[in-house]
Amino acid sequence: MKTSVTLPQSHQTPTAGSKKRKRIEAGMGYFFTGPMLLGVLVFTLIPMIFSFMLSFTKWSFVTGFDKIRWSGLDNFRQLFQDEVFLKSLGNNFIMLLAVPVGMAIALILGVIITSHVYAPGAFKVIYFMPQISSVVAVAVVWQVLFHPSYGPVNGFLSAIGVDNPPKWLADPTYALPSVMLLMIWIDLGVSLIIYIAGIKNIPADLYEAATIDGASKLAQFRSITFPLLTPTTFFLLVTGIIGNFKSFALVKVLTDGGPANSTSVVVYDMYQTAFVDLQTGYASSMVMILFVIVLAITGLQWLGQRYWVNY
């Protein structure tokens, strides 16, 4: 198998480009992508457009369509004065930091597990366990480890002379970092196995050749592993950031956005607004802001990929 870097397709000469052949080619393209496009249309795109339209209304979904009231840009004006929303959005941006940190750890562990330990299979299962385990169990163990009064973490901190160890999840300053740490811990397994799949995709003869040339392990990582993993890294970065912006379940289970909104994120705020306060229109406008931001960030990454991603 060869994973060599190929030229973008536009540089290749089209093979005997008769019109008919092009039509067949296009038909095949729609045939292959069609099912996905259809599914996306029905299950995401239509609901999304619906949501988009609702963001310009005052409406509660329980009341029926006859009570929709057009409100123009009111929702958006209100959003920019909504302290909880702005706080949540800010938290989302801070939380982004968890993505590259988690990926770096996953990459290092991935390299170690594939070639520097005994029983690599066992390690893959072990590091994947938080992903499989019940969310409740994950949250409970975390809560207990970081128990503000009797937890082992604070016990250790007191033992080494820290006077007032943080109250972690119950501390408005430390709650968000705590959630981020937990997030990295849970999602590590996913990035790890995707990285391992990527590492397995790198032909072994490249390393053999490098070893013969006398390249150190670190040099091999820099010149072979890392560059050839860039498509995987790109994927993990893009989906990681999108996923990070969408995070909800963990916050809901662990802190309910508290204390004092210090861990609230946009989707959590949106969920509360839509399903607890029953303000569907206003909640939709939050989604729209989120969507525009994520779209912009992803777009930038997309444009930037040509500078560092090797296909």
């Binding site: 029905v42 329980v62 503000p148 508290g258 306060d277």
Partner: protein, 453 residues
């Protein structure tokens, strides 16, 4: 072989995609009238009452609990069929409300809906989801306050009848009370409460017994307000009640209990997601302020077997000399959807249910004619260890309860509570002082009130 599997999958995909596509054209057809394919028979037109009528009743209680009651109504009212819609399979009212809202949004023709508390009720009344009942009530010729302990009026209109009654009192671990040489209180104030809490606190480390535990609910930040006859909410008649003696006393009560170490630390409560049942029944906290849904559980449940005797004390007053036992009365509410085609039939049913009907379930009812002794006997007969319920103090608390007329919360009560709790959390976690908390909370709640004018 792989190819065959793949071909099969592809065919499935195509079929499925076609099915999904063909139908998606109806997306916009989910207007209230189109109803659903699942329930074609319900309420297509307002049938004359002589014809058989089907009323759809939605509640989060398990079907096994509800069906005997509905059956009894059908038996005594020929021509009426009650169809039960179970909103949650484990009695979870929060999940149940979400399901209810989704069902209503997708055009399900429900008639009678239950709501677990005044907040959920007033919110849906404010959205125009519920039918006003005033005409039906005056047609029947009753005065609601003669019939029920709770007045369910929202801005002068009645959108639901009170079902169960929920008021608040104190549960005490009588074994620990006896060990500390304390009597079960009958008249007491919050100062006495703190005093009791201090005397009941013992031990250190993870096995420490705390005098009391305050749960995370908003009511625990307004304890010296919810025990008032009047103005017992965060916002009363449009006036924000934060900058008041009652809220100051409530917050100081919490702060004193926290600072002196007689209450479970708030940091533990939120970071460990502590549950009030386990705090009390495992003996970790000796007293809790709670409501009457806990009466039956004092006799032990499968989850928490009763290992000690539970005594009951009335809600403390704000200062010595004031009567104890005053508490706002909340509870479940039962209303009729505005879109229901059978208003009269549905009304007849909810009147029956909220009075005679629910007696079959032995719940504490907002109906004034409920027989309290029978209720207590019923609780005891259903308990796993009836002798662990201290009957004398229970009877005293129930009979001397003074349910305060609840000013049904504004339609945006949930938002008020969230905003208020945010500030009080900063206070108890020592991030801001009392006056800052009062000032900020007052301003934020005022903002919510103004936005909802």
């Amino acid at each position: 072989m792989k190819k065959n599997v793949f071909a099969l999958v592809w065919i499935i995909v195509l079929l499925v995609a076609l099915a999904g596509c063909g139908n998606s054209n109806n997306t916009n057809g989910a207007s209230p009238t189109s109803g659903s394919t699942a329930a074609p028979e319900a309420g297509e037109s307002a049938a004359p009452s002589a014809e058989p009528v089907t009323i759809k009743v939605a509640n989060w209680s398990p079907a096994a609990d509800m069906e005997p009651i509905l059956q009894a109504y059908e038996d005594s009212h020929p021509g009426i069929t009650l169809e039960y819609v179970e909103l949650a399979d484990n009695g979870d009212s929060v999940a149940g409300m979400k399901k209810l809202d989704l069902l209503v949004a997708s055009g399900e023709n429900l008639d009678v809906v239950f709501m677990p508390g005044a907040t959920d009720y007033s919110q849906r009344a404010g959205l125009g989801l519920l039918a006003p009942l005033n005409d039906l009530i005056s047609k029947e010729g009753i005065t609601l306050t003669d019939e029920y302990t709770v007045d369910p009026s929202v801005d002068g209109k009645v959108y639901a009848l009170p079902d169960t009654l929920e008021n608040y009192f104190v549960l005490l671990n009588k074994d620990k009370l006896d060990a500390a040489g304390l009597a079960v209180p009958t008249e007491w104030s919050w100062d006495d409460y703190l005093d009791y809490a201090a005397k009941l606190t013992s031990g250190t480390g993870p096995s420490k017994t705390f005098g009391t535990y305050f749960h995370t609910w908003a009511m625990y930040w307004e304890l010296a307000v919810i025990n008032q006859e009047k103005d017992n909410n965060l916002v009363n008649n449009g006036v924000v009640n934060i900058d008041s003696a009652g809220i100051r006393q409530s917050l100081e009560l919490r702060s004193k209990a926290e600072a002196s170490g007689v209450a479970v630390p708030y940091a533990d409560t939120i970071s460990q997601k502590l549950a009030y049942r386990s705090e009390f029944f495992t003996g970790h906290a000796a007293m809790i302020v709670t409501g009457n849904w806990m009466i039956g559980e004092a006799g032990g449940s499968e989850e928490f077997p009763a290992t000690f005797t539970t005594a009951f004390a009335p809600m403390p007053s704000n200062s010595a000399g004031q009567p104890a036992g005053v508490s706002i009365a909340n509870g479940n509410y039962v209303g009729i959807l505005e879109k229901s085609g059978h208003q009269q039939e549905a009304y007849d049913f909810i009147r029956w249910y909220s009075t005679e009907g629910e007696q079959m379930q032995n719940v504490y009812s907002a109906w004034k004619k409920q027989d309290v002794d029978k209720f207590i006997a019923g609780v005891k007969s259903g308990a796993m260890s009836p002798d662990k319920i201290d009957e004398a103090s229970l009877a005293y608390v129930i009979k001397n309860a003074k349910p305060a007329p609840l000013s049904v919360p504004p339609t945006y009560q949930g938002e008020l509570e969230t905003a208020f709790t945010k500030e009080t959390e900063l206070y108890i976690l020592k991030q801001q002082d009392l006056e800052t908390t009062i000032k900020k909370a007052q301003a934020e709640l005022q903002k919510i009130v103004d936005a909802n004018k």
